[in-house]
Amino acid sequence: MSKDIIAIIRENVIQGRKTQDDIGIDDSLAGTPGVVELTQQALERNISPQGIITEGLTAGMQVVGEKFSTKEYFIPDMLASAEAVGAAMDILKPVLESANVETKGKFAIATVKGDIHDIGKNIVAILLKGAGYEVHDLGTDVPTEQVVEFVREEKPGYLGLSALLTTTMIEMGVVIKALEENKLRSSVKVLVGGAAVSEEFAQEIGADAYCIDAFAAIKVLEGY
């Protein structure tokens, strides 16, 4: 029985159905519970959160990733699945915390000061959440002090900075300097991205990684 519901969760992740109102990739599951409802049901039946995550959510995302790389799926499909997984993680979070289970880690993300571009940053946030990270989105045009404050208080393991303008990307270097000055640099891995940024620039300002897109970010994070 427990196996069944996990298999159904996985199928719904592949279909990208967050709730029962979502249609999915085709209408074969229409009207049936989605990932959110199924995750709640699973918890009520005392199924282990780890099982739900590894065999349901993560296994489903794995299939989604494969379908994306063979061009069967498009980015909107990927995002739908990631959002479904993200919503399930919100439900599982308190349970995992009370059981002292480690999550994949906290990921703070922000578009730097002076820059309001956020489409790319939002996509990265959704996909990372779907990949199991606890994502904190600080928004756009975020002042350096606010970023530093968040790192000090919330102690995220990872910090993602986004900039799309050549004029604002230097702000990323400013953030890294400020982290150093506040003796916080070693506590957090800094990932940078956005159209203006390049590999060389990331090295120049002392970032830990440059990510061309969200998938690169997932790869980089898995390597830590």
Partner: protein, 512 residues
């Protein structure tokens, strides 16, 4: 169910109503003064019998000056059907054309002498021999009946090809003036289930090809109901001359009541005035002369108003299909045909370029888009044709098909109505309350519905242009897909009854 084609909602028109009427009036004047010179005796007799003034012209070739009075033309226009049906071996491929409905069908052709093979040799960078690239090379050679089979085969599978005009002239050693028609008809019909239109090399073969079509559909009556073949005749040679042999063929086709495109191909600058007003009045007069003759031979004969106007190029005085005026003339002709309510055979996509590449893409797409927008019913859009109708390349045909899909998508009617707006408003009101403010989750329901267009189908990866290689792979896939041949029994009867067919065209007797 006929093929769908593309219904152009609000066709693009260049001419005002006054300009259309002026062209019509001047065409009427042309038909009486100077009238047409006819090299064909029978046409002279028929027209004379219905009141045209006729005068013999002194000279080497027997010819006559024929003056066609306006009321004869108007009566013919009254008799010409407003709706023409072109049948097909597969009835789902039927084409139904209404003269007043701008529904566009995309058709192959014309007949080229040269077939262009493509291969991809590898080149090494002199400065850095570790770097290699593959570049397409095109090799011209004379077309064969095998090529025609291949072309018909590919066109069967190209989604946007609505009807088939033979694309390549068969020049095998065993093809003669006498057996050419039967072999080109059989090669095309046997490898393609769409409508087949062709010119005729020898009038003597008319009854043989008609008989072949009757055998395929199941008799004379069946062919009348499902005319799987039709003819194209350029009976008027510009300026204003009824050619002897093609006019004879045209008259015989009309007698049999089979659909026929009356086409004229004046060249602005050489065989027609260089300016738009002149070529338009002349081509219109030439087509009307043909239609009039056809309706006198047999009232009600299904005809297409055929237009292949072109501008001369100034460096050679050859055709320049790539010139922008060529598209203008074609669009004007579409409008004239619509004025008369007769379905139009129009031309686009023929390019000056000799090989596939940037020039050919730009020339063909330019005319394909604008002429399609004007809403001709039967658009001879030159799938795969290059070098002003002299060269055919399968690879180009595959590319053209993809580009026509884009044009088809573009010509869809806009969906802006109350329910669409209500759905959009609902989305907006929901999205603005979310932190991310993105509409992405609303993409999915339409992602696979066909409502959004795809990316360019031959897009390569990285920094290289892989268009030709990707199209080439698709071409091979299409050739590997089978086609529905004429069945064994009928094939046997055709080979029994129709003389001159090459035994190697019989797919059931090839011993494989």
């Amino acid at each position: 169910m006929p093929r769908e084609g593309i219904l152009v909602d609000r066709p693009y028109e260049r001419l005002t109503r006054e300009q259309v009427e002026l062209i019509h009036q001047v065409s009427m004047q042309i038909l009486t003064d100077p009238g047409l010179i006819s090299f064909n005796r029978e046409a002279v007799d028929i027209l004379h019998g219905h009141g045209a003034a006729v005068e013999s012209i002194a000279g080497d070739h027997q010819s006559w000056q024929v003056k066609i009075p306006e009321q004869l033309v108007l009566k013919a226009l009254d008799n010409a059907p407003r709706t023409v049906k072109l049948g097909a071996r597969n009835p789902d491929n039927t084409l139904i054309m209404h003269g007043d409905e701008p529904r566009v069908y995309f058709i192959t052709g014309s007949e080229t002498n040269i077939w262009l093979d493509v291969h991809f040799p590898t080149y090494v960078n002199k400065a850095d021999p570790t770097r290699e690239i593959r570049i397409p090379e095109f090799k011209p050679r004379r077309g064969t009946v095998d090529d025609l089979c291949q072309s018909a085969h590919i066109c069967e599978h190209l989604e946007m090809v609505d009807g088939y005009i033979r694309t390549v002239n068969i020049q095998d050693r065993d093809i003669t003036g006498d057996n050419k028609d039967v072999n080109k008809f059989f090669a095309s019909l046997n490898n393609n289930t769409k409508h087949f239109m062709s010119g005729l090399t020898s009038l003597k073969q008319l009854d043989n090809v008609v008989r072949m079509a009757e055998l395929i559909v199941g008799g004379k009556k069946a062919l009348e109901e499902n005319p799987i073949i039709s003819f194209i005749t350029c009976l008027v040679k510009s300026p204003l001359q009824f050619v002897d042999d093609t006019t004879a063929t045209f008259i015989e086709v009309c007698r049999r009541g089979l659909p026929v495109a009356v086409s004229s191909s004046p060249q602005a600058g050489t065989t027609a005035p260089i300016k738009e007003a002149g070529i338009m009045a002349q081509i219109n007069a030439e087509v009307l002369a043909g239609i009039t003759l056809g309706q006198l031979v047999k009232p009600g004969t299904p005809v297409l108003y055929g237009s292949v106007p072109v501008r001369a190029r100034m460096d050679t005085l050859g055709d320049s299909y790539g010139s922008v005026e060529t598209s203008q003339y074609n669009i004007d002709c579409v409008q004239m045909a619509r004025f008369y309510g007769i379905p139009n055979y129009s031309t686009s996509g023929v390019c000056d370029s000799k090989i596939p590449g940037q020039q050919s893409s730009i020339e063909r797409l330019f005319s394909d888009i604008v002429v399609a927008m004007s809403g001709p019913q039967y658009l001879h859009c030159a799938f795969g044709l290059l070098d002003c109708n002299s060269v055919f390349c399968l690879l180009q045909a595959v590319l053209d098909d993809a580009h026509f899909k884009m044009i088809k998508f573009f010509l869809r009617q806009p969906r802006i109505d109350q329910p669409e707006m209500e759905a959009a408003l609902k989305q907006m009101r929901a999205v603005v309350t979310t932190p991310q403010k993105l509409y992405i989750s609303y993409i999915r329901p339409v992602l696979r519905s066909g409502e959004i267009s795809g990316i360019y189908p031959f897009e390569g990866s990285g920094e290289t242009d892989d268009v030709f290689e990707i199209a080439y792979e698709q071409m091979k896939d299409l050739l590997a897909r089978p086609v529905e041949h004429i069945d064994r029994k009928i094939t046997a009867r055709i080979f029994e009854e129709i003389p001159g067919l090459l035994p190697r065209l019989n797919v059931y007797e090839r011993g494989s």
